[in-house]
């Protein structure tokens, strides 16, 4: 039923959005996300996708228009990156707080200054606490599969939360990859019609976005927190259903050659594929190492993470973002705190690298693992290591 096609990942994302039959697309151009929205514009212009395409005047308005259309009950999509994601920042909190099931692709990119259009995870880390479900992807197939899943997750009655589908800028957004494409009918069957429970409509007036005095604000936030945590059940169920229908299984934390591994390398996003090759080579050298990849960034998969690192003595975490003046890698900080009360607990070494589109090669990953293993033994006296910097 599925066919294998070679296509740029951004174009493929737009094709999935079309198959999801979205009602509204509100977008503003920003590299490296532009190919998605350009292709969507073409699809609308050619009548292949029946949607309102709103070419807004900023990302702030893009997300704001998404609030409006989603609140009216329309299936809503947008895409952005970097500065655009930061300009949306305050609106992102509103989307999750108001329980609006918007789906957004983020082509992860570095932040200014200095200006960099290339990939890293600085933009994501700044919107970590916005209450969105956030899914990371390693390759084009992951991206398109999770774009489909994102609609079903977001609009699920038990969830009703916005979802970010992350893909590394350029490393994924601009590469042409072979991907298994689903049939449109399959996708339509997989994503039931959006049935938003209380949309804005004169037939049943609702007030959305009221203000909350201290007597109720904490409860509102707690309800949101419980809901986001609980959404993991639905995410897992949707991934299982996807595996049943399409044959590819996604998990919150995924492992590669971790059997019996005493040292685990930890990655997120497109670097995981290069890291896998490095792990193969290190295994060939006789090193007892494996790779763990975090797919579900929010809600954070605490249990799955603890399970995945059981038995490991050393964790080497690579972050593609820097918590400036803080503990170094933001993902590493979360892993550290998630494992702090474990007994026994592994030694954790934090690396920051791959910033602003800087590549890390297979040899680079081998070096990270070997240095990390050495540092775990002798200690470094530093919060984190920066990889590949010219000092």
């Amino acid at each position: 039923m599925t066919k294998r096609v070679g296509m740029e990942v951004s174009i493929a994302v737009a094709e999935m959005v079309k198959m999801a039959d979205v009602d509204v697309v509100a977008v503003y151009p920003i590299t490296p996300q532009t190919h998605i929205v350009e292709h969507l514009a073409e699809l609308v212009a050619d009548g292949e996708l029946d949607a309102e395409y709103i070419p807004v005047e900023s990302e702030h308005s893009a997300m704001s228009a998404c609030l409006g259309s989603s609140a009216a009950g329309a299936r809503t999509f947008t895409a952005t990156a970097s500065q655009g994601l930061e300009l949306m920042h305050e609106v992102l909190y509103v989307a999750s707080g108001m329980r609006l099931p918007i789906v957004m692709t983020v082509a992860n990119r570095a932040l200014s200054a200095p200006l960099s259009i290339w990939g890293d995870h600085s933009d994501v880390m700044a919107v970590r606490d916005t209450g969105w479900i956030q899914i990371f992807n390693e390759n084009g197939q992951d991206v398109i599969d999770n774009t489909i899943c994102a609609f079903r997750i977001a609009e699920h009655r038990d969830v009703l939360l916005p979802v970010m589908v992350h893909m590394d800028g350029f490393h994924l957004s601009h590469v042409i990859e072979p991907m298994f494409f689903p049939e449109e009918a399959q996708v339509k069957a997989f994503i039931p019609p959006n049935n938003y429970p209380l949309p804005l409509h004169p037939s049943k007036p609702v007030a959305m976005g009221d203000f909350a005095p201290p007597f109720i604000y904490t409860e509102a936030r707690w309800a949101q927190e419980e809901n986001l945590r609980k959404s993991k059940e639905t995410i897992l169920a949707v991934w299982d259903a996807f595996a049943k229908e399409f044959g590819r299984q996604y998990k919150p934390v995924e492992s590669y050659r971790t059997e019996g591994a005493k040292t685990l390398l930890f990655t997120m996003g497109s670097f995981s594929e290069t890291a896998m090759t490095a792990i193969d080579k290190l295994r060939d050298e006789g090193l007892n190492v494996g790779l763990v990849r975090l797919r579900l960034w929010r809600p954070f998969p605490f249990e799955e993470l603890r399970e995945a690192v059981k038995g490991a003595e050393t964790l080497i975490v690579l972050d593609r973002a820097l918590s400036t003046g803080g503990p170094g890698g933001p993902v590493c900080s979360e892993i550290r705190s998630a494992l702090y009360n474990e007994n026994p607990r592994p030694k954790i070494v934090s690396f920051v690298g791959g910033l602003g589109g800087r590549d890390i090669t297979i040899a680079g990953f081998e070096e990270i693992v070997k240095r990390g293993m050495a540092l775990a033994v002798k200690g470094s006296g530093k919060e984190f290591e920066i990889f590949g910097v010219r000092e």
Binding site: D50, E52, E57, L67, G68, A74, L200, A207, G209
Partner: protein, 311 residues
């Protein structure tokens, strides 16, 4: 015609889209305008509200004054949210997901949310041509946060961020001409209104709802709290603003200006300013400087309405 004043109020729907029980200040001109404007909108409307007084006084959980579908999200994005609501409804109707019917979208915001922080989003939505009505309730400062100046604050008015003092006469800049900015977007309908002239205001709201495309109405909303005037002067001050030429009432339909109420002989500016604490510090010289500017602006608009200059 003599009995019109008795008869006309009966034409106003009894049903309240904006219910009483809200927390507006005594004598609030904005809430009066909102109540009447929503009556003019009818029931088939979705209201998109910017952060500001109207949102704060009328939507504290678990209460709401709104009897029509209503959404508030942020301060500066109201026009963008409205464009999303409009597009969402349009797409779903076209695709047969909801029944086909006329549902209007009305965005409402204060002058700060419109002339300052939300200007970009409003410009974008007007330029894209969404079918929606945007009402700016103009009380000439950021009242909700405690009377700070906006670009709609008139020259010389004292506010908490443009205070009068030994080195200051209060607001240092002239009021931004927002209706002209709206007109520059080539939208089908722009108007100014004031709840002191309720039927004119409601007619304009109805008219605006029926145009195909964006419409903009700036409604002069007297704020006794911020203007430091008595709460029972609201309606009178609105009339005085029109009669002195401070806030001329006019419409611009497809670029054509039309005075809604011509004032053959403008009243002296001080009739209006002397009732308000915000102008109390002004010297006669400054007041006449302001008056000259008021007359100049008034004549400018009148000339456009008379076709003497190209709009």
């Amino acid at each position: 015609m003599e009995n019109l004043n008795v008869y006309a109020p009966r034409l106003i729907p009894k049903e309240e889209a904006f219910a009483p029980g809200h927390r507006a200040c005594i004598g609030c001109g904005e809430v009066l305008a909102v109540r009447l404007a929503t009556k003019a909108m009818g029931k088939n409307v979705v209201v998109v509200n910017a952060t500001g007084c109207m949102e704060i006084i009328a939507s504290q959980i678990p209460n709401t004054s709104w009897n029509v579908p209503w959404i508030h999200t942020l301060f500066e994005n109201t026009a963008a949210v409205a464009s999303g609501v409009e597009s969402g409804l349009k797409a779903m109707m076209r695709k047969g997901r909801i029944p086909q019917e006329e549902i209007n979208v009305a965005a409402i915001a204060g002058d700060g949310a419109t002339l300052d922080i939300g200007l970009q989003a409003l410009s974008g939505a007007m330029e894209r041509g969404h079918k929606f009505l945007y009402i700016c309730f103009d009380n000439e400062a950021y009242m909700n946060t405690g009377v700070q100046r906006s670009s709609s604050t008139p020259f010389g008015a004292t506010t908490t961020t443009s205070p009068s003092g030994k080195q200051s006469q209060g607001q240092f800049s002239w009021k931004k001409d927002m209706p002209a900015i709206a007109v520059a977007h080539n939208i089908p309908y722009v108007a100014t209104a004031c709840p002191s002239y309720p039927f004119d205001m409601m007619d304009k709201v109805k008219k605006a709802m029926n145009v195909q495309g964006p419409s903009y109405i700036q409604i002069f909303s007297v704020c006794p709290t911020g203007w430091r005037c008595a709460g029972d002067l609201t309606v009178r001050l609105g009339r005085l603003a029109v009669e002195t030429g401070v806030f001329p009432l006019y419409e611009v339909e497809n670029g054509k200006y039309k005075m809604s109420m011509d004032v053959p002989k403008l009243k002296p500016l001080t009739d209006y300013t002397k009732l308000q604490g915000r102008f109390r510090h002004l010297t006669p010289e400054t007041l006449s400087q302001i008056e000259a500017k008021v007359v100049e602006k008034y004549n400018e608009i009148k000339a456009k309405a008379n076709g003497e200059v190209c709009a």
